[in-house]
Amino acid sequence: MSANTPAIVVHGLRMAYGSKLIQEEVSFEVAKGSVFIIMGGSGCGKSTLLKHLIGLMPPAAGQVLYGDHDYWLADEAARDAIRRRFGVLFQGAALFSTMTLAENVMLPMKLNGDRRQSAAEQRERAETLLELVGLSAAADLLPNEISGGMKKRAGLARALALEPEYLFLDEPSAGLDPISSRKLDELILDLRERTGAAVVVVTHELPSLFAIGDDGIFLDAVSKRPIARGAPKQLLESCDHPFVHAFLRREVPPEDVEDGRE
């Protein structure tokens, strides 16, 4: 694998729940050490696309490649090896409700981490990560004792537990105040610099996607296909699709393309 092979390649992906088509003809590449943004209106299938990337939902057609491996054709051992390099923040944070935040962050280390690491070392690392997301005071609280935005940040700390090579973030800044959101952007950029991880982010937040996005794709709920590809900043300047144009400027789209979209 050469240095400039993309970290993730998605080719001709078709996603469906049973007979209900969500998106088709989705193709893109995510370069190493870049932030890739998945954009689109609510309900167009962004979280569903993430599920296909992280191995939770098999595609109806198409491929998802990590390096040289087609994830969905690989055997269980190869999939497991790929999965161990993932860090995932779910849209609802998906914290384990019976564990404290520190225990949540320690769980990936216990399950997939370095076996030689002692519990005290794991705890220390968990505290460092929680501090990174501004939650050091909440380490021993349970998920139902903290706010939605705090859950999101704790979920991010858990996603970072094993220094992932592939980081997937589903609306990381939803529920965060502008300052925390800004800090989060910096954290993501810093991580990309430091670890060279490929970061895939679903976000609606305009300032954030312009600030961090190196590349991206725009999914459309009506045609059930991607309607734009490229860095968000570039799309802002040059994309002439009326919906993308309106979306990135936070305008109401012209009447004729508005119906059916939220």
Binding site: R83, S97, N112
Partner: protein, 272 residues
């Protein structure tokens, strides 16, 4: 095509769809059953991955935590058996046989069945609700992305804990049921305590206990399995948790009664 004929074909198609849906459920059940068995194999080889603290909490909740309600219900059932028996047996002047009736009915049938029904409403429902909630919160997805099988992590500890705790609860339920019978016989029939306990001891044979304990082992597995199965199958909305719980309890109770009937037939055929 005539109207009547069309109706008939539509009815047939609906029937077919119903059967196919049932068959699909059967397939899901056998898939989970297979996965549980594989997980037990991994556990025996020391390779299963689950959270010990969580497993221990399950053991406590499904064992010691159920003592109160198991006591109350079995005490009352023992008393009811004695009561019903006494009214009939006294007509023949055979009051002392109440002890035989209560002890055999309790040890052979009631303690196991009643305990399993209570556990289905209590523990089976709790398993379903817990797992369904985790499903809705994407916690199950999060486990999968960590490379952990939800069957190993969530189902295995629950099924094992309840399967092992139910026979213990059964033994306890027997004692409490006999006590309930004794209270009624001593209070209502003026049967001496000595006579009640000695008649009970004579009436009971080891096979009764073996049968009861064997059944409760099967019941414990069934109730836990039903709870976990419906929890894992749950949809992802808030209503799904309620639905999963209801299904778990209903299928748990029906399953217990069906298995009990099968055991009764086998016992009859084998003459034990």
């Amino acid at each position: 095509m005539s109207h009547a004929r069309r109706e008939r074909i539509l009815a047939l198609a609906a029937l077919g769809r119903g059967v196919l849906a049932r068959l699909a459920v059967l397939r899901e059940v056998s898939t989970l059953l297979g996965e549980v068995i594989l997980a037990i194999g991994r556990l025996l080889r020391g390779k299963a991955r689950f959270d010990r603290a969580d497993a221990w909490a399950v053991v406590q909740a499904s064992g010691a935590g159920a003592l109160g309600v198991v006591s109350l219900v079995n005490l009352l059932v023992g008393a009811i058996l004695a009561f019903v028996g006494a009214v009939q047996l006294l007509k023949f002047g055979a009051g002392q046989f109440v002890a035989d009736l209560v002890s055999i009915a309790t040890v052979r049938e009631m303690a196991a069945v009643i305990t399993a029904v209570v556990l289905s409403g209590r523990t089976g429902a709790a398993f379903a609700a817990r797992i369904a909630t985790m499903q809705g919160n994407e916690e199950v997805d999060a486990l999968k992305t960590l490379g952990v099988s939800p069957v190993e992590f969530l189902v295995l500890p629950r099924v094992l804990a309840l399967t092992l705790m139910t026979p213990l609860l059964y033994a306890y339920a027997c004692a409490v049921g006999l006590l309930g019978g004794w209270a009624v016989s001593a209070g209502m029939l003026d049967l001496s305590s000595h006579l009640y306990w000695s008649r009970s001891a004579d009436a009971l044979a080891g096979t009764h206990f073996v049968l009861g304990a064997g059944k409760s082992l099967a019941f414990g597995f069934l109730v836990a399995f039903a709870g976990c199965f419906h929890g894992l199958r749950a949809g992802r909305n808030a209503a799904a948790v309620g639905e999963a719980t209801t299904r778990a309890v209903v299928s748990g109770i029906v399953g217990v009664i069906v298995i009990d009937a099968v055991f009764a037939l086998c016992a009859y055929a084998l003459d034990v």
